[in-house]
Symmetry: none
Subunit: 198 residues, 4 copies
DNA sequence: GATGAATGAGGCTTCATTCAT
DNA sequence: CATGAATGAAGCCTCATTCAT
């Protein structure tokens, strides 16, 4: 990775962390630059605006989530229910660790950003829509192997979306109640949704 | 209602609308004052700060939601499944109408505010936590009449929370996909969750 | 005293206290009104402006100082040196008591107001100039009985002014060092100044 | 001096002049920025707040006073009485010149600021306390060479403080009477105070 | 005479962004 | 490519004051 690319990456990581720790608007460009150890003007050589940076953050976070949550959960040859459970366990573990470290239950970076920025930065909304679609693809791969033979692709899609929704709802609860355990609490509902196609 | 109370109410309503139409940070106090036809200084005689106003908005929105969604859905003597369905229908109808009028699918005001403000205005987070708890109470009243006799209160609570989560997930989807229909799409999952206790 | 006069007096007293406790600009008309238990609009029926109130306060404080400090010190038939000493003792006692009660060494209300307002409210400066002139009159009455026969009225006036200056300097020190004792510390210099005409 | 340092200095000088010409509260940050030919935001890159600026002004003014008044008066090898006189002459000349130029007798910047800000900006009070202590050191250096051999250090300190007080009282008079001559009027008292230790 | 309600103007501060080296 | 320095615009909030009853 070139020095440029490393700097760029550092800025994105810093911004991602700061945005997630509170919100897009509560973090200033100055703070991001300071956190990434770059001059503010330098930051603007990598990103044309704060909004642009937010879009890049959203993209980067998608890559992270796919890698660290979904690919992880699909790594071994295991059954669908186990995969589903793994997803929830990884996420919950992550959030519990953050809570331990920072005292905060931060919720889902995608949901957070989308709720705050959907209107004012449509591109962020679009990126997150794409992200959630990709999450749904993974859920489809969980559903299909165990689906009743007579079940339709449409049904599968609905369940996949319901599973995305279930997770998002859980993340919302986790943030509102400041209780990462809320994520695991939502696992049974996910399981029972999955069962409806079997 | 006294003149004071009317003015105060007008400010809250304006703020609620504006916050919901984009976000807390994207709306300035000046805009709220202008929208409510009061001088900025007048606004500050009713609310000690913008944050304080956000808290009042959160409280007011709770009252509205309970009145217009949950109480509405419980008005007639009907079955649990119908009540559940009504909740989703009222919400979906509302959001579709807003979309028609404004072009926007705004999502849930509680989820929106909570995601943006949970960290920086803890009192808003707290109010919304309370709100969702009260929503869960209504779901409990839907669950209990039809629950298996051997089902426990703990189970009921879990389902109630899952239903709140399902709705919140649906609202998130509705906002991210800009598609109020997402709310109705989530009804089957809600129904199937409810069935798990019957 | 009529009810009106009482209210007016209460406003002046409140304002005097508040101005003295910090400064003219650090106290708002709202605070004064609240402190005096009157509506802000009522306050404006008694005083045409905050500046006008400041002028009235300056006048009132003159009356108090003459009564409680100078007339007190001249009450009994005693010698000049004792009278001089009494002035310093009364003032010091006062300021020590305030310090005990509030933790603050507030300095001289005349010097404070004059330094802050001389430019922007010339009438306040003028009132305070008059006040200090009247103080000098009292010092003259201390000087004359003991002055060398060959000393001139001009000399007496100079000493009187020096005594006023000595007290003001002491009040400044008392405020800057937050130490009311500074007032008594200045007594020897006053005495030695007085001795120069004997 | 770096460009930064020059800008910073320019802001301090402008603020010092403006504060002195009326008062801290009567001057807005906008006016200071305009006077220093910088954007308001630039000012805030050099000073974290208006209060912070006031503290820096107080420090700068100390340096000026020590340089231009006390060090000047001590420059040549002369006697104590001459040095004392020089201090008063320099100050008086200064104030007369300002009065000629601006029509105002502004008084002492330290006393002015202290009286206005002692309560609300304790750090300003502290800086000015330090300043006056350093002035007293100079007076000590005037006292010691001519003090009676049997006089004590404590006495010397008292006289030094009395001289500071005498000057401050003179500055107060100069401002209240709008008459810089009041400064020179106070010289005889200073001299006679000095003589008390000889 | 008293007061609840309202307000224009302006306060301090911070923002995202750009210039010039 | 990096950065020290600068900035227009806008943020939230408070002020002294007045209106209308």
């Amino acid at each position: 990775m070139s020095k440029s690319a490393i700097t760029r990456q550092r800025i994105i990581e810093t911004a991602a962390t700061l945005f997630w720790s509170d919100s897009y608007h509560s973090v200033s460009v100055s703070e991001i630059a300071a956190g990434a150890n770059v001059n503010k003007a330098t930051l603007y050589q990598y990103f044309s605006s704060k909004q642009d940076l937010a879009v890049s953050v959203a993209k980067q976070q998608r890559a992270w989530a796919l890698d660290e949550i979904f690919d992880q959960s699909f790594r071994d040859e295991t059954g669908s229910f186990e995969r589903l459970e793994r997803i929830y366990r990884i996420v919950a573990k992550n959030h519990k660790s953050i809570k331990r470290r920072t005292g905060q239950s931060r919720g889902c970076p995608f949901v957070n950003s989308a709720m705050e920025l959907a209107v004012s930065i449509p591109e962020v909304r679009h990126e997150i829509e794409t992200t959630l679609k990709q999450f749904a693809e993974y859920y489809l791969k969980i559903i299909e192997p165990i689906a009743r033979p007579d079940s339709t692709r449409t049904e599968h899609h609905s369940i996949a979306k319901a599973l995305v929704g279930n997770m998002n709802g859980a993340m919302v609860a986790s943030k509102i109640e400041q209780r990462p355990q809320a994520i695991l609490d939502a696992l049974p509902a996910a399981v029972s949704l999955l069962k409806t196609v079997t």
